[in-house]
């Protein structure tokens, strides 16, 4: 809401600067976004009088104007505006002046003719196109005839004002009016407001003689009031009125429309004017639209109406979308002579819905949907009628046509000094509290620190005790409230074990070289669907803004691949990322709300280590990733060791390079190479990923950490190298070794794997170090040899291994 400092000053006595006022208002409750001085930066722009014009000898559109710029000086100015004419008072930027955008005007020649400055359009001195009156939109502005030649133009145009831009929160719609802001400012500075009295002269002819009205459902329009004005002359508004409008960001149109806008700015009460001659009858009816009805609104668009729209009709045809926008057919035009003026209160929710439905947010609808001051519905109407009598020569017919009327009433709210201080943590006295309510203009009675406060209708946001406490707090000053750290019972501030473990996993992955990523949880349906660990149905949002963010992810891998692709497109080919976040799973399509599961995933691509002066590049591979996953799983300290089982069940993964991760029978994750078909779609080279279901892992049994004595006796090792069929897995061999290793076997480590020359085709060679340890005594060679021989024998019989 743009508030003119000068207009405000007519209602409250202000002696501070606009900037001081803005700061105070901000700190007391309504944020002021900025203070604008329309004449800021302008210089040497004065009223000129065009004495004569003649065509430029060397141009088909320029005029040579003789312009009087002071009592005793007339100069030539070349002007290209189509509407320049002798006898006009105009805006002249003199040589050496500054106009909008800090542009400097100099004396010069235009096609050989001297020009001593420039005759300006409003836009050239800083007016926006939105507020420039239509008639001057494409030409120079013409000042009133009584403008004094040589004087600065700013005061004539209202540019010597200061405009405060107020950010009005939804609860303070009372401040969507100059009067509302005046009350606020008066409360802040402990001043009184003074509004001028308006006297309305009515004709003897009764409005009810020419117009009847009815409201079908009182709830839709609890207050609906009309006046009829005859003998109206449509013409431009006087300059003082136009100034008020354009300083508030509203374009002047004609006197009748301008008056309705002025009253809306002044009271916050939207008004509507109909052309009586065009409503087709003598009846106005407020009702709901029918589904098959249409209306062409003022913007020329035909709207298909719904039964949720409140409309104004002539008893049959729709004239208006109530409170939102008028119809084209009953619009005020230059030929209008009889005007119906409407001032009403409409049901806010319907107005809001209608405005949304047709994308027709207007100054009027936004006020109706947030509420209006029920105490000034009639005052605003009468005030407008009176102005129309003055400025449009209107005859105001006697009486209002009011099928519904609201009786404005104060709201009574109680609060105590003790309660206020308890909530605020203050020691404000009863007298101070009372003074604050009085400054707000509320009725107040007090006994023993308990207040009964009568809140007038203009502050319809106040209904309960907490609202009054807020009023006290803000007028007392938030800056004066003490700052304390509460002395109430102490509470333990701890992360849960789950939260701690997740943080720990993240730290482990980072220490191991992966950077944390945060991807979008809303993605394309395809990406949401890919890389699922547990089969799930997708959850999509209604009306997604783009297909890129339509469906909730059911895996974390797609997001990481997006991240890798983003990096690769920027020549960052060697990337290792992980993400910890949620996936959204549900078993049945019909289920609306998915389960939210914490997952952990990682993706590596390119070189794990790039080549350096002392080591070659190390491209990412399966075992690199597996090591990362193993060290991550180790952090869970599970009682059952996770196992890796080859799988081809993941269609987005390489069928020969993917393993499910199993704990017992539970699949807790997978890892492997992304299917080359998929990595190609992301324009990525070989990429390895893992994905773990943290929910399952966190639910598994963990080992209790207990100290085991560090061995005091030396361990003995034996190496074994064997040749087996290519199909025999490491897991199978290790299992055989462990099963037959005897009680002293403490570790089995693969230290070599070879296939190729010197080994038969279809065979491979593996070499293991077996570590034997007796924690109670020194092992003898005989004990170890005996145990080792059993392992050798088992490998030979179970795997047809040849010992090398």
């Amino acid at each position: 809401m743009k508030i003119s400092y000068k207009w405000l000053k007519e209602y409250v006595d202000l002696d501070m600067t606009p900037e001081e006022l803005a700061n105070k208002v901000t700190l007391t409750g309504i944020e002021v976004d900025g203070v604008k001085h329309p004449d800021a930066g302008l210089k040497k722009i004065v009223v000129g009088y065009v004495e004569s014009t003649k065509p430029h000898p060397d141009s088909d559109h320029l005029q040579l104007c003789q312009v009087q710029i002071s009592a005793d000086e007339t100069v030539q100015i070349v002007c290209g505006a189509p509407n320049v004419a002798a006898g006009q008072k105009v805006i002249v930027a003199l040589p050496g002046s500054r106009i909008a955008n800090n542009e400097k005007i100099k004396k010069g020649k235009l096609r050989g003719e001297i020009s001593n400055g420039m005759i300006c359009a409003l836009q050239e001195i800083g007016f926006s196109d939105d507020v420039t009156p239509q008639v001057y939109a494409d030409g120079i502005y013409v000042l009133p005839a009584d403008a004094e030649v040589g004087q600065p133009v700013y005061a004539y145009l209202g540019m010597d004002d200061a405009i405060l831009d107020l950010e009005i929160t939804p609860n303070r719609a009372d401040a969507l009016s100059v009067r509302g802001v005046a009350h606020e400012v008066a409360a802040i500075y402990a001043q009184a407001v003074h509004f001028p009295k308006v006297a309305l002269t009515e004709a003897t002819k009764k409005a009810s003689a020419v117009l009847q009205a009815q409201v079908t459902d009182v709830a839709d329009a609890p207050s609906y009031n009309l006046r009829v004005l005859e003998n109206v002359t449509i013409k431009p508004s006087p300059l003082w009125l136009q100034r008020r409008l354009w300083n508030a960001g509203v374009r002047p149109i004609n006197n009748v429309v301008d008056i309705t806008n002025l009253i809306m700015l002044d009271y916050g009460q939207p008004l509507h004017a109909f052309d009586y001659a065009k409503i087709g009858g003598q009846t106005i009816e407020v009702r709901r639209a029918q589904a098959d009805e249409t209306l062409t609104t003022l913007d020329g668009k035909e709207r298909d109406l719904t039964e949720d729209d409140i409309v104004i009709t002539n008893g049959a045809d729709v004239l208006n979308l109530a409170g939102v926008m008028g119809g084209l057919d009953s619009e005020i035009t230059n030929e209008t002579t009889t005007v119906i003026l409407e001032s009403a209160v409409f049901e806010p929710t319907h107005i809001r819905k209608t405005a949304q439905r047709y994308n027709l947010r207007s100054e009027a609808s936004s006020r109706f949907e947030k509420g209006v001051n029920t105490a000034t519905v009639l005052t605003a109407l009468d005030d407008a009628a009176s102005l129309m009598a003055d400025l449009a020569d209107a005859t105001v017919l006697a009486g209002r046509v009011s099928p519904t009327v609201l009786k404005p009433a104060d709201v009574t709210v109680n609060v105590s000094t003790e309660r206020i201080n308890r909530v605020l943590g203050t020691t404000i006295t009863t007298a101070e509290v009372k003074a604050i309510f009085e400054r707000l203009g509320f009725g107040v009675t007090e006994a023993a620190g308990i207040f009964t406060v009568s809140v007038p209708p203009r502050r319809w946001d106040i209904a309960i005790e907490a609202d009054l406490i807020e009023e006290v707090a803000r007028l007392y000053g938030y800056d004066r409230l003490p700052e304390t750290l509460t002395a109430s019972a102490s509470t333990p501030g701890l992360l849960t074990e789950r939260q701690q473990l997740i943080r720990h996993l993240e730290a482990t992955l980072e220490a191991n070289g992966l950077s944390q990523a945060l991807s979008y949880a809303l993605t394309t349906p395809d990406k949401a669907n890919a890389f699922q660990l547990t089969a799930s149905q997708p959850t999509s949002v209604d009306w997604p803004m783009t297909v890129d963010h339509a469906t909730l992810r059911m895996n974390l891998v797609s997001g990481l691949l997006d991240d890798l692709a983003y990096n690769a497109a920027r020549k960052q080919q060697n990337v290792a990322l992980y993400e910890q976040g949620r996936v959204f799973l549900k078993q049945h399509q019909a289920t609306v709300r998915p389960h939210e599961l914490e997952y952990l995933a990682g993706a590596i691509t390119g070189d794990w280590q790039t080549a350096t002066w002392n080591q070659p590049a190390q491209p990412v591979d399966f075992y690199q990733l597996k090591g990362l996953v193993e060290s991550t799983l180790a952090e869970f300290n599970l009682t059952t060791t996770p196992e890796f089982a080859a799988t081809a069940r993941h269609q987005d993964m390489h069928p020969g390079r993917t393993a499910d991760i199993l704990v017992g029978n539970q699949v807790v994750g997978f890892l492997g190479q992304v299917h080359p078909r998929v990595s190609q779609q992301y324009r990525l080279p070989a990429t390895y990923v893992f994905q773990l279901d943290l929910e399952q892992l966190l639910a598994l049994e963990q080992q209790t950490v207990m100290y085991h004595a560090v061995p005091r006796y030396p361990a003995i090792t034996r190496d074994i190298a064997l040749v087996v069929d290519e199909s025999v897995t490491n897991a199978a061999l290790t299992a055989t070794i462990r099963e037959n290793g005897g009680s002293y076997l403490s570790a089995v480590q693969l230290f070599d794997l070879y296939a190729g020359a010197h080994i038969d085709t279809g065979k491979k060679s593996l070499a293991y170090t077996l570590t034997y340890q007796n924690t109670a005594a020194t092992l003898t060679d005989d004990q170890v040899n005996e145990a080792f021989a059993k392992v050798v024998a088992a490998l030979q019989t179970e795997h047809a291994a040849t010992i090398r």
């Binding site: 809001r352 409230l481 002395a487």
Partner: protein, 346 residues
């Protein structure tokens, strides 16, 4: 006798000269073997003692021993010197260019959003708050209804929402957690103090300052004697911890449906320190969070008696905090995960 003695003297002199001339340990060892070995000249001389008289023998023997000792000592000294020189040479050969780069150790980085979350968490954990993580897909009633935002409340205009259907939506703020935690809290165990950091979603078109997904943290403290002065004290402490002790903080009235009185908190601008610049839009102040005393309707909706219990709630944008603290100018960077961005936040 004298001839033997003279021989020994000559041997000693010559031996020492050779020892001192020796260039390496092998040469020195050869000299030692030559001089002192069984076939060496000293042994030879001593063998010649057979021809001496019984009286002469002790003196010559003793002299011969002295010569041998002197030579042995000289060899030892030379040996040490040669060994030291050898080590010197070896060390000289082993000298490295210590300015060559170290072998890289791969280290990942923690996302700046999570660093911000965790920094704030630690501040509030220290003040006895617990961390609560709610649902990203929420029920409409927890996201709006129970927060004093009934259907068609104008404040819903401020939040454009992704709906799954008319009752289920993607949370638009972290407040639903507050409502849920409040419902479950047993006040006989003490006050309720929680923070809830997490992802939220709004129907915004992604650009430098808008994102359809971002992170928020909300907090709530409800008890029997929690005041607005506590709100100011707690939030001032947290803001100074995060943004620096030198920041000025200002509290001013605002509006949120779920609090009354409501507060907006500004800090003095980092860039201009309050003088006015493009960062603070020439106001000298930067808005950092919203807060207020929990609205009685919110307490009632959770079954908490507003006459007995009350307190404050606050909400802040994690992305905004990170952007302000580190001067990040495009919110999309948080979710693009460019490694050149991620790695900057150590």
């Amino acid at each position: 006798m004298s001839s033997l003695q003279d021989k020994l003297i000559a041997l000693q002199k010559q031996g020492i000269t050779e020892i001192e001339k020796s260039a390496d340990l092998k040469q020195l060892n050869d000299i030692r073997v030559n001089l002192l070995g069984k076939k060496g000249p000293i042994t030879e001389v001593l063998r010649g003692m057979r021809d001496l008289t019984k009286e002469e023998r002790p003196a010559v023997g003793s002299f011969a021993n002295k010569v041998r000792d002197a030579l042995t000592e000289s060899i030892e000294t030379r040996k040490q010197a040669l060994e030291a020189a050898k080590i010197e040479r070896q060390l000289a050969q082993e000298t490295l260019d210590v300015t060559l780069p170290g072998t890289p150790v791969k280290m990942g980085s923690h996302h700046v959003i999570m660093q911000t979350v965790e920094r704030l968490e630690s501040v509030f954990l220290g003040m006895g708050f617990k961390v609560v993580l709610g649902y990203e897909v929420e029920e409409e009633k927890y996201n709006f209804e129970k927060l004093n935002m009934p259907k068609d409340h104008p404040a819903r205009d401020m939040q454009d929402t992704f709906y799954i259907n008319q009752d289920i939506l993607l949370r638009t703020h972290m407040s639903p957690d507050e409502a849920r935690t409040l419902e479950q809290h047993d006040f006989s165990t003490g006050p309720m103090k929680m923070i809830g950091p997490g992802r939220v979603y709004r129907r915004d078109t992604d650009d430098a300052t808008h994102s359809h997904q971002f992170f928020q943290m909300e907090g709530q403290y409800i008890g029997e004697n929690v005041t607005m002065a506590d709100l100011k004290g707690t939030l001032s402490f947290a803001i100074r911890e995060f943004f620096g002790a030198e920041r000025e903080i200002r509290f001013r009235p605002s509006y949120f449906p779920f609090t009354e009185p409501s507060v907006e908190v500004d800090i003095s601008c980092f860039k201009c320190n309050g003088a006015g610049c493009d960062v603070c839009k020439y106001s000298g102040w930067i808005e950092v969070l919203g807060a207020g005393m929990t609205h009685p309707n919110v307490l009632k909706a959770a079954g908490v008696d507003p006459a007995k219990y009350g307190g404050f709630a606050f909400g802040l944008g994690i992305d905004r905090f990170a952007m302000l603290k580190y001067g990040i100018d495009d919110i999309r960077q948080f979710y693009q995960n460019d490694v050149r961005f991620l790695s900057q936040f150590k």
